[in-house]
Structures are given as C-alpha cells and as structure tokens.
C-alpha cells in the first residue's frame, strides 16, 4: 500500500514539479521590476532629490546693505536704517495665543485673520510677509517671544533715510520691484527693493550689492535643525557700493530755499569737469516722505497735488529758451562769417517789424550792445543772414547747417549721463517744416521766432546750463554728470572725462564771454552784479502760451577760470531780470564767497511765493 501511494505521489508531484520554476521565475521577475523602478526613481529621475530638498531646506535670503550716497564734500546724503519684516508660513501656524500675538504686533484679531488669509492665498507652505516693516519696539518684544509662535519669523531689511532732506528728484527713491521687473530680471524676487527714480535707479546695480543665501535644514514641523552641508552652499551678502556725487549739499539746500514757493528749476555745473553742483526742481518735497510703509500714502498725496511736486523740472521740463538762445545764433553767425562784432543793425523799439523789441536802447547797435540789451530785431537780422547764406544754395540746406551747429552745442539731444528719464528738448528737422509748409515754401521769415528762442524750440534746464559751460570753457563741454566715483572716493568714472569740442572757433567764444560780462556789468542783469566777482550771463524772458512769461538766466563766474555755470528758470515769473537773475547771483555769491551779504535781496527771494494759497 505505502509503496503504491508513494509512487503515486511521486508521479503526481513530478507532474507538477516543474511549476517550481515558474514560481521562482515569478519571484525573480518581480525583483527585477522593483530594481528597474528603483533605478528610475533613484538614479534617473532627479526630481525626487529636489522634492526632498524642498521638504527639508529653508532658504533664508541675506539682504545686503544698500550703498550710501555722499556729496562732493563727504556729507552723507542717503543712508540705511534697519527695519524688520514679520514673515509667516501659514501651514506651520498652530496653537498660538492669538490675543497675545495681536497685542505684541499691534493689530486686532480681524487684521490677524486677514493677513493670514492673504499669506495662505500666496502659498500655504512657503513663507511670505505677514506685516512689513514692524516698528523697532514691536521687533524688540517679538524677538524674545517669537519662539512661542510657530510659523512666524523675522526678516531684517533696510530702508533709506535722508539726513539732509534735499535733492529729492535727484536722489530718487526705492520701492518694491514690480511684476514686470520680476518677469524680466531674475535677480529680483517678490518683495525685493529696487531704485525707481533718480540715481537710485540709474545706479541700481552698483547700489544694490549682491544678495546672499543661508540654507538651513528644517524638520517636518519646520523647526531649524542646523546648517546644510556645513554651510558649503551658503553665500555671504555683498554690500552695495557707495556713490560719491559731485553735488554740493550746501548749494543745493540754499537753492531749494530760494526757490521755495515758486515753480521752476536750477542746474549748476562745474564747467571744467562737467560735475553737477546743484540740481533742483521746485516745488520739491522731503525725500523721507517716500520711504517705507508711509510711501504709498504720501505718494498718492504728492501725485494728486496740482503743483506737481513729483515732476522733475530740471530734466523733464521743456521750455522755450527765449533770449538766452540769442547767444547760440550769435555764435553760429560769427562762425559762418555772416556776423561780425562790428555788424550794425537798427532797431525801432516796440514798433519794429517783423519782430519788435521789448527793450529801450540806442540804435543802430553792434553785436555786443545787442547782447547786452537783448535786442530782438538785431537778432532777427542775425538769424536771417544765417538762413539766407548764399553758399548753401537753399533755405533747407542752410537750415540743416544751422541745426547741426545747434545740436553740436548740446541742444535737441540727450546727454545719456547718469540721470534717468532725460528729455531731449526739441530742435525741429527741416523735414518738419517741409511737411507743414510744403517743400520750398518756407524761409527765414516763416520761422523768425527761432531768432529769439521761441516757436517750436524747446530746451531743458540741463541743456541751458550746459551752454553756459561751453561758453565758460571757451568752446567745449564735458557731459554733465552727477556721480564722480563709485565704490571708493577715488574710483573715477571713465566716460565722464571726455571733452566734447564744438565746431565754433574759440575766438568767438572769447568775444561772447566779454559780451556776457557786459550783460551783467551794464546790461539787463546789472541790478544784481556782484562787487567782488565778475559774472557773465544772459537773461531770457520766454513767452509762454499758457500764462505769464518764464524768467530765465544763464550765467557763469568768475569770468576767467570759471568755477560755476548755471541755468535758472522761474516759471510764470515775468522778466528774466526780475527773478532768475537775483536768485542766480545769490547762489553764486554763496558758492564762491561762502556767505551772502545782500540780505534784503535774499529776503525778497525767499518771500516771493507764487504757489501757496493766501
């Protein structure tokens, strides 16, 4: 029996015994499938390593201090102040004493909920700002107790402070980078600061430094567990570079004082170097207003103000130059040989045509007298002779040549120096007139307003000040710029040392210097000449279709080896000699002698107020 059963078993067993192979092979196949899958997720697919790091790593940005800004004498114009942003990671906020927290931070329960919801909408598991720029006191309280409030931490930041409260337009301000910036420049992340106007903007890259990064390991409860790989990947923040400007803070402040209550602008340049000494637009505002948390509120107020304090008139104000432009035509005429110091033209005063004169003086008069007394008909003749010069063959050609000279003297162009949002004024092309009047259908008479700096001609205060520089230098200018050096006081910027030589010969400039000296000694600016300093200048009264004439004055001093060249514009203030001249002369007195003796003039300037309501 057993034998039979045993063999029956063996038969049956061996019948199916090969199935062991199938079973073992199944085991092996599963093992191989697992190995392949493991190979894929461990070796080939790198996204898991990234996710692992996302779980475990917290990236803490190290924000560098922004570069400081100094004036030419080392006075601090802009510096940094520490502030603190309170950050939150919504998913990690659990079991906190909301009441106590609200008291510490200084908000109410509704505000707390509102802020958490906003952060949660941004991302539930990434940190975002709960409250920006909390006060120093709040930071002090929180720093101690923050460990009790899971999910919150403090991020140190800096904001700008302006100890001198001047040059708001020039220095500009910073704010958070907008979406379009974030899209274009990957360096900036949401919440980063960036310069928005002034030299904060044009020197943004130098000022901002380089962000650093600390990487910390965190556990599943977002508690810091230590550094990552012994800080191998940590980078230190690199401080921003300081800017050393050519601005003279004292001169700037004095200018802003004199211009208070008036609309207009002053640009003062050191002719031999092109360095800008003062650069102001009035009305102005305290730059400390556009800092930090109060910025948007104050910005709203300022932009709604009808006198437009935010407008930078020095760079973006485009004015008809008026009589100051006569110098340009004179220089061109001299160079072209259609005008000589001894050229005489007659003037019948207010009755002259096609352009009448607004001054009373001798007739006929020569060039020097015409400049001194700013005679309109004389200069009309000068302009006409330029445009009608036979050698050019046509009005159009002559005009093109004229336009060349004007551009060469720095008008109708941008200087592309270190100030953003520059406008280039307007010196029309001959094609412009072709279009309006038809080809060949216009001549000097048609555009006679150009002879006295009116019509379509527009210039900026910067361009006018630059003209003063050209004459002060007897024939060249250096691109007007504000920043002398970056990083350290002696690291001068190369491109701002080149001379732009103009086409007009220096002997004509010599003549012009003399003529402009006479303007101040005996001419339209004589009221305000300075005893000890020989000053040269040219007044201008620009007709303004929207209101009263603008008051202009360009000047430089002292006559030989000039140290300062300036353009002053006071909008809607009437004759150039009434307001622009005294302001300019006070500034020059202050700059060159250190004090102002004519207190009565000073008082009168300060008190003259066109803006404030009665």
């Amino acid at each position: 029996m057993p034998d039979y059963n045993a063999s029956k078993f063996y038969m049956k067993n061996s019948y199916y015994s090969n199935r062991k192979y199938i079973i073992i092979i199944t085991f092996i196949i599963v093992g191989i499938i697992f190995a392949l899958r493991l190979f894929y997720i461990q070796v080939i697919d790198r996204s898991y390593t990234l996710s692992a790091n996302n779980n475990v790593l917290r990236y803490i940005t190290q924000y560098p201090a922004r570069g400081l800004i100094y004036d030419r004498n080392g006075k601090l114009l802009v510096f940094n102040e520490a502030v603190y942003d309170l950050m939150v990671t919504p998913n990690h906020v659990k079991n906190i004493d909301t009441t106590e927290f609200c008291t510490l931070v200084g908000i109410d329960k509704a505000g707390f909920i509102e802020r958490i919801e906003k952060a949660r909408k941004y991302s539930p598991y990434k940190a975002s700002a709960f409250e920006k720029q909390i006060s120093k006191e709040a930071f002090g309280y929180l720093e101690e107790k923050l460990y009790r409030f899971h999910g919150f931490f403090v991020q140190p930041r800096t904001i700008r402070k302006y100890p001198q409260s001047l040059a708001a337009h020039l220095l500009g301000y910073i704010g958070e980078a907008t979406q379009s910036v974030l899209d274009k420049v990957p360096y900036y992340k949401s919440g980063d600061y960036i310069g928005i106007s002034g030299i904060e903007k044009s020197y943004e890259e130098e000022l901002r430094g380089v962000k650093g990064m600390k990487i910390r390991m965190v556990d599943v409860f977002n508690r810091e567990q230590g550094s990552f790989q012994n800080e191998k990947y940590d980078t230190a923040a690199i401080m921003g570079k300081n800017l050393y400007t050519s601005l003279d803070a004292g001169l700037q402040a004095y200018g802003e004082l004199l211009m208070a209550g008036k609309r207009g602008s002053i640009v003062a340049i050191e002719p031999s170097t092109g360095e800008i000494l003062a650069f102001l637009s009035s009305p102005t505002y305290d730059p400390n207003l556009l800092v930090g948390r109060v910025r948007s509120k104050n910005y709203q107020k300022l932009s709604n103000d009808p006198v437009k304090p935010l407008l930078n008139r020095a760079l973006m104000g485009q004015y008809p130059p008026g009589s100051t432009f006569k110098i340009v035509n004179d220089l061109i005429g001299l160079e072209e040989g259609v005008l000589f110091p001894s050229t005489f033209y007659s003037c019948q005063g207010p009755g002259t045509s096609p352009i009448r004169c607004t001054h009373n003086h001798v007739s006929p008069l020569d060039l020097k007298q015409a400049i001194q007394q700013s005679c309109n008909p004389y200069h009309w003749q000068v302009f006409r002779s330029i445009i009608n010069k036979k050698e050019y063959g046509s009005v159009k050609n002559a005009y093109n040549a004229w336009q060349d000279y004007v551009t060469d003297l720095g008008f109708g162009i941008k200087y592309n120096s270190d100030l953003p949002y520059e406008l280039d004024g307007n010196i029309p092309e001959s094609e412009y007139f072709d279009k309006i009047y038809g080809k060949g259908h216009w001549n000097a008479m048609t555009i006679r307003s150009f002879s006295i700096g009116q019509g379509e001609i527009l210039t900026t205060p910067l361009q006018l000040a630059n003209l003063a520089c050209i004459i002060a230098n007897r024939g060249y200018y250096i691109t007007p710029h504000l920043v002398r050096s970056v990083g350290s006081p002696k690291s001068y910027i190369e491109r701002f040392t080149q001379k732009h030589q103009t086409k007009i010969h220096s002997q004509y400039y010599d003549f012009m210097v003399e003529a402009m000296f006479q303007v101040v000694e005996h001419g339209t600016a004589a009221w305000y000449k300075l005893d000890s300093i020989p000053m040269c200048g040219k007044t201008g009264t620009a007709q303004n279709p929207h209101g009263k004439d603008h008051s202009l004055f360009i000047c430089f001093a002292p006559k030989d080896h000039p140290k300062i060249a300036m353009a002053v514009i006071v909008e809607n203030a009437g004759f150039g000699s009434t307001w622009a001249v005294p302001i300019a002369s006070l500034l020059i007195e202050k700059y060159l002698t250190g004090t102002v003796k004519r207190k009565d003039v000073e008082q009168r300037m300060i008190e003259f107020n066109m803006i404030s309501k009665p």
Binding site: A6, N13, I23, I24, F27, F34, R37, Q42, A52, V220
Partner: protein, 419 residues
Amino acid sequence: MSQKQNIFANIDLTLVIIYIVLVLTGWLNIYAAVYNEQHNSIFDFTQNYGKQLIFIVSSFIIALFILVIDTKFFSQFAYLIYGIFLLLLVAVLGAGNVVSGSKSWFQIGGFALQPAEFAKFATALAMAKFLSAPDINTHRNQTKIIPLLLLGIPALLIFLQNDTGSALVFSSFVLVLYRVGLSGNLLLTGVGIALLFLVTLMFDKIVVSGIFIGFALVLFFFIKKNRKNILSLAGLLLLIVGFVFSVDYAFEHFLEDHQKTRINVLLGKEIDLKGAGYNVNQSKIAIGSGGFLGKGFLKGTQTKYNFVPEQSTDFIFCTVGEEWGFMGSVIVISLFIGLFSRLIILAERQRSQFSRLYGYGIASIMFFHFLVNIGMTIGLAPVIGIPLPFYSYGGSSLLAFTLMLFVFIKQDMNRLQLV
C-alpha cells in the same frame, strides 16, 4: 551526544544566514528611522530600536526552541494550532484594542500581541496538512471547497477587524494551490480578470466596453461562422462587458472613500497630497533622493526629520532607499528574493508532502508581504498596511515570521526522516 550532534547537522545554513542578516540589518534601519538624539544608544529600551532588540532576542529563543522539539509536532498539531488562532481571531473582535483603525491587538502587560500575524502561520500549517492527506482527490468538489474555507474564514475574521491588508495576504496561497495542480489556465484567467479590473478602474467603462466590442467584431470576421463559435463569442463578450459594469458599480458603491482614494492615487487618477497620496509621495521622495549610493547611515534627511509617516513600520524600506541608495536597495531585494527562491527549492526536495506544501505556503505569504510592502513604497502597489518581514518594527510580526521560517527549517533538517 551523537544524537545531539546530529540535530543541527542538516540545518540549511543559507536560510539561517539570510534570516540573521535580514533581522540585524532591519534592526539597524529601525535605529536610523526613529533615531532620537537624546536616546542615541541602540540598546535604549524606551525607543523602538531597543524594543526591537527584545523582540529579536525572543525570536532567537523561540527559533532555538523549535529546532529542538520533536519534528512531527507541527504536522500532528496543525489543525489544533489553526483552531486556537481562529478562536483568538474571534476573541480579539470582542476583547481587543483598536490601533490605527483596526481592532487587532491584545494588550498583555507592556506588550501588544496581534493574532492575525500568527494566524497566517497557522493557516499555512492547516493548508499543508489538508492538501498533503494521502487519499486526497483533487477532482472532488469537497476537496476544492475546503481549502477555500481554510483560507476564507481567517481572512473574513481579519477583515472584520478592519485590517483589510492582512486579510488580502491569504490570497497568496493561490501559489500553493497552483503547485498542487490548480490549473495554470485558471491562474492566468485570474490574472486576466485582475487586469481587466484594473483597466476598468483606470478608464471609462463605456470606452473599455467599446474596445472589447470592437475586438469581438474584428474577431467575428476571422472565425468560422458556425453556431458554436458565434454563441461562444457573444457569450464571452457579454461576460466581459457585464464584468466591466459590475466592477465599476462595485467600486463606486462598495468601497469606502479612503480605499477608493488609495486606488485612485495608485492609478495616478488622483494626487491627494494630504492623505494617502502624501504617504506615497513622501516615500518616493525619500527613496528617490537616495541616489545611487544613498546618503549614508543616519544621514537620511527625509527619515531623520520625519517626513515619511510610519517610517519604522510600513514604510521601513524608505530608510533603506534613502540611506543606502540604489545599491543598498538592490542588495536587500536580492536577499529577499534569495530567501523565497531558496524556500521553494528546499520545499521541492522534501519527501514529505506536508513539508513541501508548508514551504510553498510560507514562501507565498512572505513573498506577498514583500511584493505589496515594497511596491507600495515605490508607488507600484496601493497603500496597504502590511509589514516587511523581519524588517518592520513589531514583536508579533517578527515572532510570527520567525516561527514560520524555523518550523520549515526544522522540517527540512529532518527531511530524510519524514515522509
């Protein structure tokens, strides 16, 4: 004396060595998984790794004990042991504690005992005993039904504990049935049904049915158009479409939400990063970030900072993957595959049918745990909470698997004396 020397003479060292290596490396991985700096000694009994040592030592003692008792003990008392654990499975439904949603534990002193783990061992014994009966006739209906009952009753009881994962383990015995003659075609049909099941869940039931109808139409053109063929084809098509619709219906109405979610997460239909998806996602991240050589012992950031839930139990393999990388993972997998294969090979050389079928039984059980546990950690199997043999922290699991293995080692040791 000489008898004593003979006791251990035929012990299969391969199995014993693989066992010891797995248990010890498993212990090290538990240490890494729940590493606590304040209690950094691996012998600290307040921590899981210290406790696992107690379980390991107990298991070694049990193993030794099994090796010295009478060889015929287990085959003789198979049904008794089976009955005892069946009773315990019923008892735990009344007197047991609920842990993680399943009422599967007895609290005895400071330790917890899980009868389900031992029930797997007892079932292996009972199945082997029944199927090795000398006068067994596999064609009688009674012979076909009783094994299903032997499997089904403990599975049902465990299912009632709400431990669906352990209940599913009993399906692994199909490999034993296959070995004794269960039709391979039946097995393949079973696999086919399972695949159809998956396809139905993954894709829309209308689309799937449509595809099969299309298949049938194409087939229609190629077959001999006699009555038998047409009826068979139509009948099969009806069966398939019916199956597709019932599966879809069953999925919607008979599964609990969290079970539906787990399946959907596995199929990639849902991402559920908070619940079931979170576990697998973190698990894949932990393993995937291990790279080729791993991050090193105790240096796994995901496990160190507790990003993977259940890291010392169900997801213990994550520690292996993260700290030992691809190389380490492959080595561990190879050890397991080696263990299972060795069991099959040794089972095959048994003269005793009982020993043979018992060997196949425990190999199947362990293989199922391996398949589902590791598959789950790498996203190839749904999240079913069953332990990795010898690796997952837990006294009942380690003891039960040790029992299972050493009973077989004992049977194998004395194979020449058994019939």
